[in-house]
């Protein structure tokens, strides 16, 4: 269809959907209303398992299956990216990686900030059940942290820093660990992803049983997933050239 016909059709349909949306939204409970029945039960269950961060309790303890599904989506799409962006025959390495002049100040800054970010990332993962944060966010912070090396230094140093194979392996271990803990929960107490370890006192490091462990597993997986993702994209953008432009 021509562009204008397409836009006209979309405008009409979009208008109709918007009218539906307004009709529906008007009947929703008011914006800040205290009507959250699920929250009340989730609250009790979370406190019962001594998990300070209720969001992690819901994520890893009460609705564990959702998180298993989400995390597998992450595994699938990172695998998809590594399949799609693998080196096709007609591409070859292009050695202009050494170029890239970096301001001294940023180089210095980079070297200081890099370890700090990675440390913060790991802290966010391990304290997932206490402070806001958890496996997902911590993994992202660690994943992006290491790429400071590229910003502050050169691409080749980044590549030496993190070859991709161990991270792909790390990703598989994270996903496998999550599923294994689920099955372990099943074997021990007959319920998939049950909270196994005794959840001692509130607020300590090991207070909420499997939530902390699952957080760790997801953290490893997300961190290595992000690493593989960015590695593939960086490799595509900087290193690979199609053979025929390579010769020019």
């Amino acid at each position: 269809m021509s562009r204008t016909a397409r836009t006209v059709m979309f405008a009409a349909a979009g208008g109709a959907v918007a009218v539906f949306a307004v009709l529906a939204v008007v009947r929703l409970p008011a914006f800040g209303s205290p009507y959250h029945p699920y929250r009340d039960h989730a609250f009790l269950a979370g406190v019962a398992h001594d998990t300070a961060n209720l969001v992690s309790s819901v994520n890893f303890d009460q609705r564990g299956l959702d998180t298993l599904g989400e995390e597998t989506i992450l595994l699938a799409s990172v695998m998809g990216v590594s399949v799609l962006l693998r080196r096709a025959e007609d591409e070859e390495e292009h050695d202009d990686r050494s170029v890239g002049w970096v301001l001294d100040a940023t180089r210095l800054g980079g070297y200081i900030i890099l370890p700090v970010t990675v440390l913060v990332g790991f802290d966010v993962i391990t304290h997932g059940h206490l402070t806001p944060g958890g496996g997902f966010q911590g993994g992202v912070v660690v994943g992006t942290g290491i790429h400071l090396m590229y910003v502050a230094g050169r691409y080749r140093s980044l590549e030496r820093m993190r070859p991709t194979t161990p991270f792909e392996w790390g990703e598989a271990v994270g996903a496998g660990a999550f599923a294994a803990m689920g099955v372990a929960g099943l074997l021990v107490s007959g319920a998939f992803l049950a909270n196994l370890i005794s959840y001692t006192g509130f607020g300590q490091l090991f207070s909420s049983g499997t939530v902390a462990l699952l957080n760790g597993a997801v953290g490893i997986e997300v961190a290595s997933g992000v690493m593989v993702l960015l590695a593939k994209f960086l490799e595509q953008a900087i290193v690979l050239r199609r053979r025929e432009d390579g010769e020019k």
Binding site: T7, F10, G14, V25, I73, V81, L84, Q137
Partner: protein
């Protein structure tokens, strides 16, 4: 005031889809898709919001089961969705790179190889 949050959410979803319809570049449509996607986050979180409520995290164990805490369930759903959908967007971008390699162009109008 009460309905504004939901309207903004639906507005984002519609704007994202409109972007895909109008786009001349597949990367542009993938980015518009992620805009539509964040519309659903805004919808979910504004459903879970409660005025004068503290975030659902505690330093010390709460003595009485208080009600003034925002809904952790909605946040858990959105939380995982944000991270995961970024990787799905990355997958779609990788496909766009492949299309560009194969066909040299990213404009859906020119990509007529798919005459169904």
């Amino acid at each position: 005031m009460s309905v504004y949050g939901y309207l903004v959410a639906f507005w984002l979803v519609l704007a994202g889809s409109f972007g895909i319809v109008r786009s001349r570049d597949l990367i542009h449509s993938v980015v518009c898709l992620s805009v539509a996607q964040s519309g659903t986050y805004v919808l979910l979180l504004s459903i879970g919001f409660q005025t004068k409520a503290t975030p659902p995290v505690y330093g010390s164990p709460p003595s009485t089961p208080t009600r003034s805490v925002t809904d952790p369930v909605v946040q858990a759903m959105t939380l995982t969705d944000v991270v995961v959908s970024a990787t799905v967007t990355a997958l779609l971008l990788a496909m766009a790179v492949q299309i560009h390699k194969r066909h040299g162009t990213l404009d859906p109008d020119e990509l007529r190889a798919l005459r169904g």
